[in-house]
Amino acid sequence: MDLPRSIRFFLEDTGDLARFTGHYFGLGFSRPFETGELLKQCYNIGYKSFGLVALTSFIIGLVLTMQLHPTLVEYGVASQLPVMVGLAIIREIGPVIAALIFAGKIASSIGAELGSMKVTEQIDAMEVSGTNPFKYLVATRVLAATLMLPILIVMADAIALLGAYIGVNIQGTTSLTLFFSQVFHSLEFSDVVPAFIKTFFFGFAVGIVGSYKGYKAAKGTTGVGNAANSAVVLASVLIFIIDLLAVQITNLLGFN
């Protein structure tokens, strides 16, 4: 009976998350808007994550280029390195790496923050004081994550391309103009737009999972830790699942 029990838990969890999401869509966009809190969360979630995302993206761009270079030289297409790296970064590596880093930082922080508020019964207190805690705490964070991650990823892509440019220039000389001309010549809207759209879903997944895990944190000292931990794990897994769905849908729509 152990396996069915875990399945039951999983199904319950999924159902709860779906209900939570539905709740968000029901309440999140109703007046009054918590604009100040939203901006504050945007600042915390977006602006403060920039350094981390920028660093990882830069390194990924650089390393990817350096790793690809020997193979491309072997096939005699080293001149296609910018094209290949550009496509890889814009379509897949940039968004996913940045989203995973973002999930590690934001899902855990939202989970821990909301979890500790839940454990210390601040949420209940907020409800008593007349503020809707869901709107104030959850909706702002989810929206902030949804809006900020795409912007972060656009920047991350740019920084990763910069890293790639440096990577290309370690093994040879390519002017910045040629590099970006090659990259943008090979890029189509069908490369950029689906990749950009899916980042909204990544951001939303990170925000909603973090909030859900924190909001539903179990009482007790381990509750907060569990909430933070499971938020990161679930958000990361969801990012990959959304990525898979995104590529399937873009293929289905013929944008590939």
């Binding site: 901006l39 600042y43 809207f189």
Partner: protein, 329 residues
């Protein structure tokens, strides 16, 4: 409250920067795939598009001129391809331009190439049809190649026969023979020497000619002396007279011989009997015979005389004189 404001400014900058990056990227992509600009349309009908896809690039003389908008199968023989051409490129495309489907790089994407022909033609208009260039396809090339291969095989077979014949021929042996080469070398040396000598001879001849011209030497004298020429003329006149005289003499002689002949044939003189009398011939023969015998006897007598002691001294002296003469010679 102040920190919130600063944070908001930072956030604003962050968001603006992100959006600016996004817009710039989209702009760059649009400039290469011509999404926003207003484009003209050109059409072409192909029988085979070789895997061309919508969105493939269109090149005009190698310059990016637009993209493929649509590919429509009209019937089993023709496919209509609509090209989106940038306005600034369109004005340079002449009406007689040809369109063909090629490949980017060795195995890259398909591209549509628009190639202008020589000469100036009026520009093409929006919506016009372009003529399709007949491209040599690989099957055709292979067919030609096969024909060429057969020809090459025949040629190489013939060449082989020729080579074998050359191998067995005497010419090759001659070429390989060392002695021949040496002989040829020697001959060339001889020719060299001869040429040198001929040169020398010509030089000498030249100098002789020059001398002759200047009146030096016997020949020169002969050729340039006027007195001599006059003498020669005189001599020639004399010779002429002489030959005329000779002519007269010959005629007279002829007459004389004719009369003589008649006299011989008809006359009774000793010459006639000498020539015509057979008994005389027999007598003459006998006389000659007797004479021969007489001489023989005389010879014997003379030999006997040589050995006679009285005359021996004279003969010895004669012999000595003869020996001395041969030694002096």
């Amino acid at each position: 409250m102040k920190t919130t404001a600063t944070n908001n400014i930072r956030l604003g900058l962050f968001v603006l920067l992100g959006l600016a990056l996004l817009v710039t990227a989209l702009f760059f992509i649009s400039s290469s795939s011509s999404f926003f600009s207003s484009d003209a349309q050109l059409k072409a009908r192909f029988s085979n598009v070789n895997g061309l896809q919508e969105g493939n690039n269109v090149l005009f003389s190698g310059i990016n001129a637009g993209t493929v908008k649509s590919i429509v199968l009209l019937n089993q023989h023709s496919i209509e391809v609509t090209l989106l051409i940038k306005q600034d490129v369109l004005i340079h495309i002449p009406k007689n331009a040809l369109v063909s489907i090629g490949t980017e790089g060795l195995m890259g994407n398909k591209v549509v190439n628009i190639i202008p022909l020589a000469g100036t033609f009026p520009g093409i208009n929006d919506g016009d049809y372009l003529a399709v260039e007949k491209k040599t396809d690989i099957d055709e090339m292979l067919a030609t190649l096969s024909k060429t291969n057969n020809n090459i095989a025949a040629i190489s077979e013939a060449l082989k026969g020729t080579a074998l014949r050359i191998n067995n021929s005497a010419v090759l042996k001659l070429l390989e023979n060392k002695g021949v080469a040496e002989n040829i070398e020697l001959s060339i040396q001889n020719i060299n020497t001869t040429t040198a000598q001929a040169q020398e001879f010509v030089t000498q001849l030249n100098s002789i000619i020059t001398d002759t011209k200047n009146g030096k030497g016997a020949a020169g004298l002969l050729l340039s002396d006027k007195d001599f020429a006059a003498n020669l003329q005189q001599t020639m006149a004399n010779i002429k007279t002489a030959s005329e005289n000779a002519n007269t003499i010959t005629r007279e002689m002829n007459n004389f011989v004719a009369t003589l002949n008649i006299a011989i044939v008809n006359g009774n003189g000793p010459v006639n009997s000498l020539l015509n009398d057979s008994t005389l011939t027999v007598k003459l023969n006998k006389t000659l015979d007797n004479l021969e015998k007489g001489t023989d006897n005389f010879n014997q007598d003379m030999e006997a005389l040589k050995h006679n002691f009285l005359l021996k001294g004279y003969f010895k002296k004669l012999e000595k004189q003869k020996k001395k003469d041969t030694a002096e010679d």
